[in-house]
Amino acid sequence: MFNETVLKEIDEIKAKYPDRKSALLPSLYVAQREFGWLSHEAMECVSKALNVPEAHVRGTASFYAMYKHRPVGRNLIQLCTNVSCMILGAEKLVDFLGTRYGVQPNGTSQDSRFSLVIMECIGACGTAPAMLVNTDFYDNLSEKRIEEILEKYK
């Protein structure tokens, strides 16, 4: 079960909406932060905290791409390869991440340092290619720049 502080946080989220069910998406983010990913236990906690059936919690969570449905590495790279990024070389960067860091799309490197998810447009098309590392945003990417950026994520 969530601890008191987290339950209080979820109560504050609930207060923003006319019904408790609407607090589900933000509460899933909280659970993900607490457990690292949306494990069975994490979703059970959300279900209890909101008094919403577990099946509904799991069904809803499964619909959204930004919830982590399996454990991920210490750092999550979310790289866009949609059209604006693609025409400026994003696919080569996917290959580069594979050869340089041993991380494949939807996979995690053996040392658990990085996980990689291919994103569908992160709204940085004017400075493509772009990625998020955890919640930090980077654009105008090249192989060299990626190496410099990832240096600080251990």
Binding site: K16, P18, D19, K21, S22, A23, L24, L25, P26, L28, Y29, V52, H56, G59, T60, F63, Y64, A65, M66, Y67, Q78, T81, N82, V83, S84, M86, I87, L88, M119, E120, C121, I122, G123, A124, C125, G126, T127, A128, L132, T135, F137
Partner: protein, 422 residues
């Protein structure tokens, strides 16, 4: 008003532009005070005269939508801001959300007053974590300064505002899917009617408008409907944010009068083609809008002229491609996106996007068969007009546009069993 004067992007060069003090110093929140001194019905009438149309893509007249919600006797009413900017190629709302959040908050407070809505939510896409922090900080400042709360500006008007963070689903930009999502469900579109203006969030009358639409409200109050209607196109006036990406010298977000020509956007504002390369094609309004070949860009970018030119204004997201780009590959990548984002509720979209992607993938990989182009046209034809929401139409339209203008490229791929670009 000087057409080059910026309003939506006013002051964003100031590094502290997101701070309330800077916004107020630049004249911010004056328009909210002006609005609160007037009868909401008068302002709605003025909004009607201004000719403002929704900036999310459909271009529906804003005042008309609002009058439906206002006429519904049920309370409370809700105002939802669609900040789920997910249409690939689109990054126009981002500078408002990150650099000018108080413009949006002021616009929403004015809108809430006009509509009689006491609660507003900003549905923000999960991929904008920085904007989430900035908006929450700005909302907190606006509460402290009494521009939000139970007694806005001491005028006895109530308006509360909160951010609701999405979690990575393109379909939630469709207004009824957005409502489902804010209610804590999968983002699957609802049947219409009833329309959200009558039965929306929590079954109450609900207005859903794009960030840019709501951010126009302070300007209309500031300069009045008449002056506003004189900006840009006659049939859909006002300033418009265009975001240009791809092979141009100066990609970025530009605030220009609605109806600026696509050619000028590319060659004047975005500085022309990068490294002097040759223009091949333009996707003018985000990847759901049909492609235009290089010789068809002499058109006015607005909701009326673009359909006549064979595409749509969409979100004003201009993707510029030079002759190094393979159009089959672009179509394939676009369909991979639509297949991934199809919510699965209706068969033509769920199955259609899957099949279109499969056929495009094999053509691009050199495994295309004779008859594949006809097969694509056939599938797209079956989808058009038969899907639950515009996602399926968009996917079908993209494929049809590509085949219409670049059929020879598809034929070459199939004939040579390879992509000549890779």
């Amino acid at each position: 008003m000087d057409i080059m004067e910026k309003f939506l992007l006013r002051n964003i060069e100031n590094p502290n532009s997101a701070d309330i003090n800077e916004y107020v110093k630049a004249g911010g929140y004056k328009n909210l005070s002006k609005a609160l001194a007037r009868d909401p019905k008068d302002i709605l009438e003025e909004l009607k005269k201004s000719g403002l149309r929704g900036r999310g893509g459909a271009g529906f007249p804003t005042a008309m939508k609002w009058s439906f919600a206002k006429a519904d006797p049920k309370f409370p009413k809700y105002l939802l801001c669609n900040a789920d900017e997910g249409e690939p190629g689109t990054f126009k709302d981002r500078p408002i959300l990150e650099k000018n959040p108080h413009l949006l908050i002021e616009g929403m407070a004015i809108s809430g007053y006009i509509l009689g809505a006491e609660y507003g939510y900003i549905y923000l896409r999960g991929e904008y974590p920085a904007a989430n922090d900035i908006l929450n900080a700005a909302i907190k400042q606006a509460y402290e300064a009494n521009y939000l709360g139970d007694n806005v500006n001491g005028k006895g008007v109530k308006f509360h505002l909160a951010v609701h963070q999405g979690a990575g689903a393109y379909i939630c930009g469709e207004e009824t899917a957005l409502i489902e999502s804010i209610e804590g469900k999968k983002g699957q579109p609802r049947n219409k009617p009833p329309f959200p203006v009558n039965v929306g969030a929590w079954n109450m009358p609900t207005i859903v408008n794009n960030v840019e639409t709501l951010s126009n409200l302070p300007l209309i109050i500031e300069i009045g409907a008449e002056a506003y209607a004189n900006i840009g196109s006659k049939e859909c006036p006002g300033p418009k944010l265009f975001c240009i990406s791809g092979h141009v010298n100066k990609p970025g977000v530009y605030e220009l009068p609605m109806g600026t020509s696509l050619k000028d956007i590319i060659y004047i504002h975005a500085g022309g083609m990068r490294n002097g390369s040759k223009l091949k094609a333009v996707i003018p309004g985000g990847i759901s809008t049909p492609v235009l070949p290089a010789d068809s860009i002499d058109c006015a970018m607005d909701f009326v002229a673009m359909p006549k030119a064979g595409s749509m204004l969409g979100s004003g997201a201009v993707i510029v491609m030079d002759d190094s780009v393979c159009m089959v590959k672009v179509a394939y990548r676009a369909l991979k996106f639509f297949e991934h984002e199809s919510c699965g509720k209706c068969v033509p979209c769920r199955e259609g996007t899957d099949w279109l992607r499969k056929v495009l993938e094999r053509i691009e990989n050199g495994n295309g068969k004779e008859g594949d182009i006809e097969l694509l046209t056939d599938i797209a034809g079956i989808m058009l007009g038969k899907t639950f929401c515009p996602l399926g139409d968009g996917a079908a339209g993209v494929v049809m546009g590509m085949i219409k203008h670049f059929r020879n490229e598809f034929e070459e791929h199939i004939k040579n069993s390879r992509c000549n670009f890779s």
